[in-house]
């Protein structure tokens, strides 16, 4: 494992939420950047990064076991899902207003 803590300043005019790329936890200030297969992946703590790295080799884990590529695919799916969610929220509100 190799990683480092980075700090972000809290914003007041724009309220940005940063989530751990693995567990989803909201990160208030300190982000653990882990280098995995030459990519930098943000985590909420080195412990979670360790769980992730170990879980890649855990055969029955529900997360994709193909390593970082699989994880990135999965995250893309989540982001696509969020876009779909926004669309759905709009249509829900539209149907309510009708």
């Amino acid at each position: 494992m190799s990683g480092k803590w980075i700090e972000r300043s809290p914003m007041y005019l724009s309220f940005d939420i940063y989530n751990c790329d693995y567990c989803g936890k909201n990160i208030p200030r300190s982000i653990w950047l882990e280098t995995i297969d030459s990519s930098q992946v943000p985590f909420c703590s080195p412990e979670v990064a360790k769980v992730f790295i170990r879980s890649r080799n855990f055969p029955q884990n529900t997360r994709k076991a193909e390593g970082v590529t699989g994880l990135m695919e999965e995250l893309r799916e989540v982001r696509n899902a969020c876009t779909a969610l926004r669309d759905r929220r709009v249509s829900a509100q539209e149907s309510k207003s009708k």
Binding site: I17, N19, G24, L85
Partner: protein
């Protein structure tokens, strides 16, 4: 007092002193709660005890808690971490008190306000003391705060980032003014917030006195040791669970805005001495307020695992360390700003706890209960007092049946597992609000049949005694059953119905008022004489009902927990009552039960 020979390897303080300090800290948390209970203005404080009191060390690691509200105890870990992280570690002065309730900064939902105070010793911070409490009025669009059809966080109340409520012992009047200008019941909110302030002062005095008695070094070593012991013991507990992946899922039936079900899916991964609860595959976040934040989901996971492991493990940072939660952003278990979420802490949280129970049932068949009723049955109301015109606002929640257990029946009429609160006595309720309680009873046949029966739910009927009362609700389990385990049957569903004055039929709020959901709505105006019927669900049964003994079925009949029809339908037995009023299951000449 020190007995160095009794120290386990690696610990710096002897076990006797450790035990004394551990008990002192948890007693301090209890005393904080009692201070709030006795001094707050709202029944949700002094009757329901919907608050929690927690101590942290200077590194914001939890060092002690008391047995108050599990969902708050779990989330406050994240709340305090966020508050200290956002403000920075060096900004506090003696007498400062910080307030925050923002769910997107680690709080459970907007009504739950967290107060934080740093404790100093010789000019240095040595601890943080905190409490979290549910204010009955947070300034939401609906009186009582739980807007069942909210479509964003801004409809759920006044959102407070970390702010100084008090600086060096002096109230920050600007902040108080903003809060009170946004609450329907400022006097009540003032009394409740001041009770929280008093509770922090109690804790500050106790921590100071502890350090004066034992010295700073012993205090710090003891808290470090207690965290280490808790972690070690929790890891030992987890190691007893067979390694593997245990999947389970359940349904949130709708969200108050759109009538679609949401799946909450979890794979509990037991890996040696650690557990990861992975919610990947759960539904996208809801349009209505049934979402949870990461803190709510993680808190529910902690809650479930604390129920399944040794209750004597010190409850501090250490026991949480081996437990991990994965909750993908944008899903119902980790919604993204500004999604509505006020019902997540009352409805999603117990559902997650039950899901963890369901998942681990095959691994821990001797410990895991069936599903509890699993809804807080949140009934909110507000208006003006008929005599005085003063505004009032209240959050009423109802107790449900809990699931049958491997060794005995489920408890009846217990507040939901994430709350651990008490119900409000009818006398207090009727004194404070213009609503009469017509009836309040255990509901026969509501507990799921099983070798060990689920606990019973209740039925309560209210009559409105003011010309105009605004009501809202967030219920769940109205169409999705509380599940049984190992062949046990499901518990009965929840319900909330209305009967307008002068009519005879009970109707759902959807049928009477056209609400999107029959169980989640806000700001319905009821009039004098209108009635509301609340049905709280029963718990699921545990084990095959055919294995329940004749004597226990008879006892259930005798107590009115089941009806003779229910005995026949659920247990397949014929029962008759003799002239003395004693129920007996019929048997043939060979003593076999008639079926």
């Amino acid at each position: 007092m020190k007995t160095p020979d009794s120290k386990p390897t690696g610990l710096k303080v002897d076990q006797v002193t450790l035990t004394v300090i551990d008990n002192y800290l948890s007693t301090t948390c209890r005393e904080m709660g009692i201070a709030m209970m006795r001094t707050a203005y709202s029944p949700i404080f002094n009757e329901s005890l919907d608050f929690s009191c927690v101590l942290f060390d200077k590194y914001s690691r939890m060092i002690s808690q008391a047995e108050f509200c599990p969902s708050q105890i779990g989330t406050i870990k994240f709340t305090i971490e966020w508050m200290i992280d956002e403000l920075g570690p060096d900004v506090y002065k003696p007498g400062d008190i910080i307030i925050m309730n923002d769910p997107y900064r680690g709080s459970g939902h907007i009504p739950e306000h967290t107060l934080l105070k740093a404790v100093f010793h010789e000019g240095e911070i040595v601890a943080f003391v905190a409490n979290c409490a549910h204010l009955a009025e947070p300034g939401a669009k609906a009186p009582g705060g739980l807007s069942g059809d909210a479509t964003d966080i801004f409809q759920e109340g006044l959102r407070l980032p970390p702010l100084w409520l008090q600086r060096e012992g002096k109230p920050q009047e600007d902040i108080w003014k903003i809060i009170f200008a946004n609450h329907r019941t400022p006097k009540t909110s003032y009394g409740d917030l001041m009770a929280m302030v008093g509770s922090l002062n109690v804790a500050e005095r106790r921590i100071t006195s502890l350090i004066e008695k034992y010295g700073l070094e012993t205090y710090q070593n003891a808290t470090n040791d207690l965290i280490e012991i808790a972690e070690r013991r929790m890891r030992e507990e987890i190691r007893k669970i067979p390694d593997g992946v245990y999947p389970f899922e359940d349904i949130i039936e709708d969200d108050g805005v759109v009538n679609v079900p949401y799946t909450v899916r979890c794979n509990v991964v037991v890996d040696d001495d650690q557990i990861t609860c992975d919610f990947t595959g759960s539904s996208l976040q809801a349009a209505g307020p049934m979402n949870g934040t990461f803190a709510v989901t993680a808190s529910a996971v902690y809650n479930a695992l604390m129920h399944l492991t040794d209750p004597t493990i010190p409850r501090n940072e250490g026991c949480y360390r081996p437990i991990h939660t994965i909750a993908p952003p944008g899903t119902i278990v980790n919604c993204e700003f500004p999604a509505p979420l006020v019902g997540g802490n009352t409805e999603l949280s117990p559902r997650i706890t039950d899901i963890i129970f369901g998942a681990l049932a095959p691994a821990l068949p001797d410990r895991v209960p069936a599903s509890q009723g699993g809804t807080s049955c949140c009934f909110l109301f507000g208006g003006a007092q008929p005599e005085t015109g003063d505004l009032y606002s209240n959050f009423h929640f109802e107790a449900t049946g809990w699931g049958g257990r491997p060794h005995k029946d489920g408890n009846s009429q217990i507040i939901v597992i994430n709350g651990n609160c008490r119900n409000t006595p009818v006398e207090v309720f009727e004194t404070r609000y213009p609503i009469r309680v017509e009836s309040y009873r255990l509901l026969e046949d509501s507990g799921g049949a099983g070798q060990n029966r689920g606990g019973l739910g209740i039925e309560r009927i209210f009559t409105m005694e003011a010309d105009s009362i605004t009501v809202s609700a967030i219920f769940n389990r109205m169409s999705v059953d509380p599940f049984g385990l190992h062949g046990g049957k499901a518990g009965k569903n929840s319900g909330i119905y209305v009967r307008k004055s002068g009519t005879t039929d009970w109707k759902t709020f959807s049928d009477e008022f056209g609400t999107t959901s029959p169980s989640k709505f806000s700001n319905i105006i009821l009039n004098r004489g209108d009635q509301v019927k609340i049905i709280a669900p029963g718990g699921g049964g545990w084990g095959d009902p055919s294995l329940r003994s004749q004597l226990r079925i008879q006892a259930d009949l005798q107590e009115g927990y089941i009806s003779p029809e229910g005995a026949f339908k659920d247990y397949g037995v014929v029962a008759k009552c003799d002239e003395g009023g004693n129920w007996k299951v019929q048997t043939d000449q060979d003593g076999k039960i008639s079926k």
